[in-house]
């Protein structure tokens, strides 16, 4: 028994052992003449455990549920704004049920907190505008390479077909004498899953503590509107100055390769909606140790 266990323990599970013997040659692609694997849709999953993701699922998720939970009896009763539509009513039958008028943005209450619907981070968007790219689009290249070094994302890289990689942002509007629609003006990337948490970890551990005179991201004043689209969207946004890019270890190691450093906007998109969504999103984000201060 023990000898068997020893033999199992000695066999390394992470190393590539021996290639399987070739019994049948792979079919070749008629166009490229390259061998085609049998698998059509190869799905590549996580390649390593993720520290920050574990922190969320072990600690933060429970805490956030307790913090954001509102007992049903404590919820204010919804005011009935018009007669409810009853399809069994002979008058209402086959009649058009018009939607409630007016913009509902900032009026919808937050959905009930359930264990399945605790606030979580959906994606992180990093966005950089490069003004010089308006004159010559070659100036986008350093920004693309810097964001690529930061995030490691490339278009469908590593067999992840849903990965859009680093995208080029084009101008949508015409700004007199300066911008025309379709001119590339910046780059952005969407991070999801472990890559998102890894980026957050790097930001918190290496970058934010080294920014000079940085007490935290400033919260909006208490008098700011609670119904604005910003406050009910569940997105936490902040910017980093160009100097901060040099603090990322991925950039720091060969900072000379880049002609200049770029600032960036970072949007942390959560699944929170309804009234107070941004406050709940900030509670989540501060759980990842991103500091906020009041002015």
């Amino acid at each position: 028994m023990s000898a068997q266990a020893g033999a199992v323990a000695r066999r390394n599970v992470t190393r590539f052992g021996r290639a399987p013997p070739v019994t049948k040659n792979l079919r070749k692609n008629p166009r490229t003449l390259l061998p085609q694997p049998h698998v059509k849709n190869l799905l590549v999953r996580d390649i390593a455990p993720c520290r920050i993701m574990d922190h969320y699922y072990n600690t933060l998720q429970d805490d956030l549920m307790y913090m954001t939970y509102v007992h049903q009896s404590a919820l204010p009763k919804q005011r009935q704004i018009r007669l409810t539509f009853d399809p069994n009513d002979p008058y209402a039958k086959n009649r058009y049920n018009p939607p409630v008028g007016g913009s509902q943005v900032g009026r919808k209450p937050a959905p009930l907190v359930t264990p399945e619907d605790v606030i979580r981070l959906e994606r992180i968007q990093i966005h950089t505008m490069v003004k010089e790219a308006i004159g010559s689009r070659n100036n986008l290249l350093p920004a693309i390479m810097a964001i690529r070094a930061l995030t490691g994302e490339t278009y469908q890289g590593g067999g992840r077909h849903s990965n859009d990689g680093i995208q080029i942002v084009k101008a949508r509007k015409s700004v007199g004498g300066w911008l025309r629609p379709g001119v590339p003006v910046g780059v952005k990337v969407d991070l999801k899953g472990p890559a998102m948490y890894d980026f957050l970890g790097t930001l918190v551990d290496f970058v934010l503590p080294r920014i000079r005179d940085f007490p935290g991201f400033i919260l909006p004043p208490a008098s700011s509107s609670v119904n604005s689209p910003n406050a009910v969207s569940g997105v936490v946004s902040f910017g980093l100055p160009p100097a901060a890019m040099g603090f990322f270890p991925q950039i720091e190691v060969n900072q000379d390769s880049y002609p200049k450093m770029f600032g960036m906007h970072i949007h942390l998109v959560t699944n929170a909606t309804g009234l107070g969504a941004q406050n709940r999103a900030r509670a989540l984000v501060s759980g990842f140790q991103i500091p906020f201060i009041r002015k």
């Binding site: 992470t14 455990p49 939970y69 469908q156 890289g157 590593g158 067999g159 060969n254």
Partner: protein, 297 residues
């Protein structure tokens, strides 16, 4: 599992107490045997039937180390990493590295090692002469020495793990630890969470904070997560056999710094324990009440 338990208990109307405690059936039979001999006076005043409310604090030390992956997980990750490496997009060496720089040499050596781990030793990329390879390795070793690499990594097992020091906050770094106190209860030594009563006019979460400091001393930084209790247990009080109920609301708290220093003489000992260790310390009834509030990580 715990969270669902919490929500169902909170959603239930407050009058319906049968859902609050799972072991109520056994309690009822126990109670009926005692009440059979001494029936409570039917004209008991409203005051005596008012339940006695207690708050208990589940003081948690979150994991400080990452979890060790199982052999299956490691094999899975290695397999997925191999596929991702095989399908990765071309890497633009010429942008990131100056031609022939030391940084590029180091990157190439490290990349060759990673390829060898992923695809076996027969997988070779660029062929380098042995002399050149030796020179490269020496240069890279010098670079890493200049950068102060090769520091000793801290071990994953703390000395308190080896000594079985249950009072240390450094033990079991990958697990959630919870504080348990050993107290004298009716002449018996029992293990339980820190707890205490609620004073008149006091809110539950304020009482929880006060009770925690009263039993564990002020020499620690703690944070009570929420104003909402995370669970509740309900049992007839043994002290007064007049049917007065004993309701305990549990609050979750984190310890940030410091250590417990029991201030009361009734608290004889304390321990930081994982979920499984708590089961072996506490009574069966208490375990049934608290088990769903503890993390299995």
């Amino acid at each position: 599992m715990f969270s669902r338990n919490l929500l169902t208990s909170c959603r239930a109307p407050s009058k319906d107490v049968s859902c609050l405690r799972r072991a109520l059936a056994t309690e009822a039979s126990l109670g009926s045997s005692t009440t059979a001999t001494s029936t409570p006076p039917p004209a008991s005043s409203k005051r005596s039937t008012r339940p006695k409310i207690t708050t208990a604090i589940i003081l948690n030390r979150s994991p400080t180390l990452t979890r060790t992956p199982t052999p299956f997980e490691r094999a899975y990750y290695a397999y997925q990493a191999r596929i991702r490496r095989a399908l990765h997009n071309p890497f633009p060496y010429e942008f990131y590295f100056k031609q022939g720089s030391l940084l590029e040499t180091r990157f190439n050596i490290e990349e060759a090692e990673r390829e060898r781990l992923a695809f076996g030793k027969d997988f070779t990329g660029e062929v380098v002469t042995s002399e050149k390879e030796e020179a490269n390795k020496r240069a890279v070793a010098q670079l890493s020495q200049q950068e102060g690499e090769g520091e000793v990594i801290m071990p994953r097992t703390h000395e308190s793990d080896i000594k079985k020091d249950f009072k240390s906050l450094d033990r079991k770094g990958a697990r959630n630890l919870y504080l348990l106190l050993r107290v004298n209860h009716d002449g018996k030594q029992v293990w339980r969470f820190p707890q205490g009563g609620v004073e008149k006019g006091e809110l539950l979460h304020q009482a929880a904070q006060r009770d925690l400091f009263a039993e564990c001393g002020p020499h620690m930084d703690t944070w009570i997560v929420s104003r909402n209790p995370v669970g509740v247990s309900k049992s007839p009080s043994e002290a007064t056999k007049d049917g007065q109920e004993d309701i305990t609301f549990f609050y979750k708290a984190h310890i940030m710094a410091g250590q417990v220093r029991p201030t009361q003489a009734s608290v004889s000992d304390f321990a930081w324990l994982t979920k499984e260790e708590i089961e072996s310390h506490v009574s069966k009834d208490y375990w049934e009440d608290i088990k769903d509030m503890l993390s299995r990580h």
